[in-house]
């Protein structure tokens, strides 16, 4: 199936340094149209579209905006989450590099809809080389009076994967350690500086201008029952054509990995990065959708030569390293998993270890404070299910 470019429609067709090239392709027409609707009408259109968050959690966008709209406050904020730190994910970088204008427009529409006058783009520090491009894009929009009372400021991170989690992100903007907050209250009630706030991923906001211009129904006609629209996938690993691909939601994994990215042979695919699910090659006909597996759409392909235990160990190492340390199940749990997997790497695992990994997984999924700890066990659980032999071959009581 060929790609369907909604989010990426301007990438490669405009000059990201010149707003005039964006204006020629309907840039900022959606913002103009939105301002002629009421904020409630804008939110209704987004709800009708069925757009769900594209940063990994998949929360319905319109409902999030409605929550902030309905929270009474003098000040509200809208934040674009450009912290893209999930391993194997680079689609937001590609979008920022190639079409910052549509993002600014999407963020402005969000501001109008919820009643916020200030928007922020939280940019991971690893993308510092994109800062001037982004600031320049905002300046051009400002100078052309396109933002009409709404302002966009960029706040940079300082190197912390966990700051991609929305409440940790807000802590970071406020100048503190990026540790997630206890919820409730949720950001739409009390977020940045305790004001009603919405945080949306880059890709989510890129969908807003087309939805406003073409209508929510146009969008909801694309995709599956519970996954509307397209998704931008970041494909890497053992493929001939790594890169960014935009496909209608519901497309089978096999089409992306084999037909488009040209993987010569596949042992397993990790979908959603380090906190993602792992599918063996036998499940490659699985449709890519929230109903099955998606995350933020990192697709890392492993061929027949790869060692399952080694990959899971490295995945867990990443998560243990990035764990913020606030809650015990994640702080201790990720460390114990790393130690246990390291023993398996050396062929010194045991049946007790396998049971311990499963018990620990349940505890972490149920009790961790944020998505990092809650999703950390997925690689272990999925490989225990699909590659049990790999673990058992590495046990001493074999």
């Amino acid at each position: 199936m060929p790609q369907t470019k909604i989010v990426l429609r301007n990438c490669g067709f405009i000059d990201p340094r010149r707003i005039s090239t964006s204006l020629r392709r309907d840039g900022f027409k959606a913002l103009e149209k939105a301002r002629q609707m009421t904020p409630e009408e804008v939110i209704k259109e987004v709800k009708v579209s069925g757009l769900r968050g594209r940063g990994g959690a998949g929360f319905p966008c319109g409902i999030k905006w409605e929550g902030a709209r309905n929270s009474p406050a003098e000040e509200k904020y809208v934040i674009c989450n450009a912290d893209e730190g999930e391993a194997g994910t680079f689609k937001d970088r590609y979008i920022l590099e190639n079409d910052p204008f549509t993002l600014i427009e999407g963020l402005s529409i969000a501001g109008y809809a919820v009643g916020a006058r200030q928007g922020y783009i939280y940019l991971r520090y690893e993308y510092h080389d994109l800062l001037s491009l982004l600031e320049d894009a905002v300046n051009q929009a400002r100078q052309l009076q396109l933002l009409a009372g709404f302002d966009v400021a960029i706040r940079e991170g300082a190197g912390a994967y966990v700051c991609g989690e929305e409440s940790a992100l807000m802590e970071s903007i406020e100048g503190r350690r990026g540790e997630p907050r206890y919820r409730p209250p949720f950001p739409t009630v009390a977020g940045l500086w305790q004001k009603p706030t919405i945080i949306n991923n880059v890709e989510t906001l890129m969908n807003i201008p087309p939805i406003i211009l073409k209508g929510g129904h146009w969008f909801s006609d694309i995709g599956t029952e519970r996954s509307k629209g397209t998704k931008v996938f970041s494909v890497s690993g053992d493929v001939a054509r790594p890169g960014v691909y935009e496909l209608v939601l519901g497309t089978p994994l096999r089409e992306l990995v084999e037909d488009l990215a040209l993987a010569p042979n596949v042992k397993m695919v990790q979908i959603g990065g380090a906190t993602g699910r792992i599918l063996p090659s036998g499940l490659m006909d699985t449709p890519l959708a929230f109903e099955n597996v998606l995350g933020a759409g990192a697709v890392t392909v492993f061929d027949e030569t790869r060692d399952v235990i080694d990959i899971v160990y490295r995945t867990m190492e990443f998560l243990a390293d990035e764990s913020c340390g606030k809650c015990t199940p994640c702080r201790q749990g990720t460390e114990v998993m790393v130690e246990t997997l390291e023993r398996f790497c050396r062929g010194k695992g045991s049946k007790k270890d396998i049971k311990a990994l499963q018990d620990l997984s349940n505890t972490m999924m149920l009790t961790s404070l944020c998505g990092l700890g809650q999703a950390a066990p997925f690689a272990v659980l999925d490989t225990l299910e699909h590659f049990r032999d790999d673990y058992e071959r590495r046990t001493l009581d074999n």
Partner: protein, 145 residues
């Protein structure tokens, strides 16, 4: 005797921003600097240390003039990042976590920097270097004074 650190009167109230500005000005976040920052902002020293020690790009020990960060995450690992790590070790003579004697380079391993389709990849300061092979490393390093 500890060196006295003084700030201009304008220190950002936002601790993270203040730390970044202090690092840009003074090179790294020494204990003396963190103590002084705590005093200027009227916050406990451990709060300053807590933020400084949390973020990868905040340095609480002296680093070299140029900081090499090679990605060690899974997608770069699949594209032989170990060859790049070994080449850098050989060319500069230091291992990850170390700084060269002439302070020209510090060398760190970092987690995913979002360049996975052009792996293996690294950052030198804020500069992005992708599609790395061992043969490209020397020229890249030579371009940093």
């Amino acid at each position: 005797m500890t060196k006295k650190v003084t700030f201009d009167s304008e220190v950002s109230e936002n601790l993270l921003v203040a730390l970044k500005e202090a690092q840009a000005k003074f090179g790294y976040l020494s204990p003396a600097l963190m103590i002084e920052l705590a005093r200027s902002l009227d916050v406990p020293v451990n709060e300053v240390y807590g933020v400084a020690s949390f973020y990868s790009f905040l340095n609480i020990k002296p680093l070299g003039k140029n900081i090499i960060r090679i990605c060690r995450s899974v997608p770069c690992y699949l594209r032989k990042n170990h060859a790049i790590i070994e080449t850098v070790e050989r060319e500069i003579g230091i291992k990850p976590g170390e700084t060269s004697h002439d302070s020209r380079f510090s060398f760190e391993l970092t987690n995913c920097i979002g360049l996975c389709d052009r792996a293996p990849a690294m950052l030198v300061n804020s500069d992005v270097h992708v599609d790395l092979t061992p043969s490209k490393i020397l020229q890249i390093l030579q371009s940093y004074k």
